[in-house]
Structures are given as structure tokens and as C-alpha cells.
Subunit: 198 residues, 2 copies
């Protein structure tokens, strides 16, 4: 028997669930989604591998939890980028729209492993999140472009699909090395042409 004195780390962690998620994010960030190990996550938190099964059914469940956290954070980054541009005219509306796309792309290239986990089929995201912040931001951004008269109402219709597809596609192809980084601004211009933006 080991003499048991005052233990530094308590038996009950207190907030193990989110601690596991954060540790998983850190490990995916470093080594990629396919090299995420439940045991390494648990060890980083200072807990036995079995402990995580109290909060997540299996490894996939943890990954899915990571996915929704990351998706929310990406939306936060976009919102932050938008909020830095004030004004209500045509100029600032366009800049806000571009800032949204740039924030998305910037996150992809600075955190390719997190991006892969989020959009690479690792986490099961079943529903089309119409009320998700990311979708709301895009939708409201398009609405603003209509309101300030930069695009027509008919060009705006279903604009979300084209915009998200092009921005996501370019980000994905670029971080996988299939396209040069310099292509992204061109894609942004193409999106605006597609919307008939002046």
C-alpha cells in the first residue's frame, strides 16, 4: 500500500467532460483527426482511459462533441471579424461580407487539422443547421447585401449554397495542397460575380 497523504489531484475531476473535449482539440490540432487517441486524451487530462466512457459512448461521440464545439468557435471567429467593421453603407456591407469569407479561410489554413475534423466526415453532423450561428451570419450577410442595394433580391436566392460551397471548397483544396493559397481571393471575386455584385 502506498502511504496516502494529501492528494494534489482530486479523485473527482469536476468538469471532466469539457476537459476531455479541450484536450482532444489540442491533440487533433497537433497530430490530425486520424491520430487522435482516447488514451492520450485521458492521459493529458490526468485520468484513466475508462473514465471518458462515463461521458462519451465511444471515441466517435467525443469526436462529434469536438466537432460541434469547433463549429461554434468558427462561427464566433466570423462574428468577431464582422463586428470589427462598423457602418451601414454599401462599402461596409461589402467589407463585412468579405470579412466573413476571409475569417473562414483564415481559420482553415491556420488550423487545417481542426478543419479536417470538422468537415472531413469524422463527426456525424446529421442535421442541416438552419438556426446555427454560422448559417445565420451568412444568411443575414446576404440579406444586408440586398438591403444596401449591392445585389438584387433574385440573385440573393439560395446564395448561401454557392457562397458556402465556394469558400469551403477553396479552403479544403488549398489546405490539402491541391490549389495554391493565392487562388482564394480569386474565388472570393468569383463569388461576388456570381451574386451580380457591383
Amino acid at each position: 500500500m502506498v502511504p496516502r497523504v494529501a492528494v494534489v489531484s482530486p479523485y473527482h475531476h469536476g468538469d471532466l467532460e469539457s476537459a476531455l473535449v479541450e484536450a482532444a482539440i489540442a491533440l487533433v490540432r497537433k497530430y490530425g483527426p486520424d491520430h487522435l487517441s482516447l488514451r492520450a486524451v485521458s492521459a493529458d487530462v490526468g485520468v484513466s482511459p475508462s473514465a471518458s466512457y462515463h461521458y462519451f459512448q465511444d471515441k466517435n461521440a467525443l469526436i462529434s462533441a469536438v466537432g460541434s464545439v469547433l463549429f461554434a468557435r468558427l462561427a464566433d471567429l466570423q462574428e468577431e471579424a464582422i463586428s470589427k467593421i462598423s457602418g451601414s453603407g454599401m462599402h461596409s456591407a461589402r467589407e463585412r461580407f468579405q470579412a466573413m469569407g476571409n475569417a473562414y479561410f483564415k481559420w482553415a489554413v491556420t488550423e487545417p487539422n481542426l478543419y479536417r475534423l470538422l468537415f472531413g466526415g469524422f463527426c456525424e453532423m446529421q442535421e442541416v443547421p438552419q438556426d446555427h450561428k454560422a448559417w445565420r451570419l451568412l444568411s443575414e450577410g446576404l440579406d444586408e447585401l440586398v438591403q444596401v442595394g449591392l445585389i438584387t433580391k433574385s440573385a440573393r436566392q439560395n446564395g448561401e449554397a454557392l457562397v458556402w460551397s465556394a469558400v469551403h471548397g477553396a479552403s479544403s483544396l488549398i489546405i490539402e495542397g491541391l490549389m495554391p493559397r493565392q487562388a482564394f481571393p480569386e474565388v472570393l471575386k468569383g463569388i461576388q460575380r456570381s451574386l451580380g455584385m457591383k
Copy 2:
């Protein structure tokens, strides 16, 4: 010196390298890129797990080999779809262009696991060379649109980036369940608007 034809010998396989690649493709197709097992691949071919290390440095090398095979096959499918549309007028040029995008998308939705392996960061791919069939088809398709007068020369500039980004992005988002299938035709329309296509 050249390895000879496949004489059915229990010990020497004859064409193990490509047999491993084909078996890997079949397994990825079924179970996804992250559940590909070297041992299962070897077992399917009827060979010891160690045998594959004579042809591939490690699991990643096999996956990368699978990747370039798949990329070539995707291009073949696109070429086949294009070749089914004859004629040299504006109408057939547009149809060929659309057929290319549709073939890409169709492959993505019918083989999501292969698509994920190819574009999900599993295989280390270098920047797609200008002389790759997939790039050539896209490039020539855009050139044809200019030649028949469907788009202007200036709108065509760097059109590859926007087209590939949008088609790839839509395919990716749709197979991951983030976008409804029905959004793809809208994206195709958006691409044509972006090119100023009549």
C-alpha cells in the same frame, strides 16, 4: 527483370502491388478511410500482413497510392461523361461543361468514402499538375466556352479555381450532411453566373 504475369502460385502472388491497392479501395469504399486496416487488406488478397511492406513503406504510402488511382478514375468518369455529348455548338459546349460538374458530384455522392479518402487529407497529394487529366478537362472545358462565345475571355481567367472550389465544396458539404442534395443544381447555376454565362 520485369515481374512477370500472374502465374497462380501460392507463394509469389505476381501482381501484389496493384492487388493491394484494389483491395484497399474495396475496403475504404465499405468502411471509410479511417477504418482501413493493412491487415484486412492483406488478408483479402490472401497474403501476410508483412508482405505489403515490400511495396509500400507504410500504411500511408498505400493510402497515397490509392489516392492517385482514385483521382485518375474520377477524371476518367468525367471524360466519359463529356464524350457522351457530341456536337460543337454553344448548346453542346454548355452541356459538356455541366456534365463535367455533374459527373464529379455524382461520384462524390455514390462513393462518399472514396471521396473522403481522396480529398480529406488522408493521402499526401502535391499541387495538382497542369497536365493532370482532371485539370486538363476543366481547363479545356472553359476554353471551349470561350471559343463558342458563351463566356468572355476575361471572365474565363482563373475560372478553374472558382469552378473546382464550388463543385468540390458543394459535394463535400452535401455528403457530410451539411447541405441538402437539392442544393447542387443551384450551385451549378451560380457557377455559370459567376462566369457571366448566358
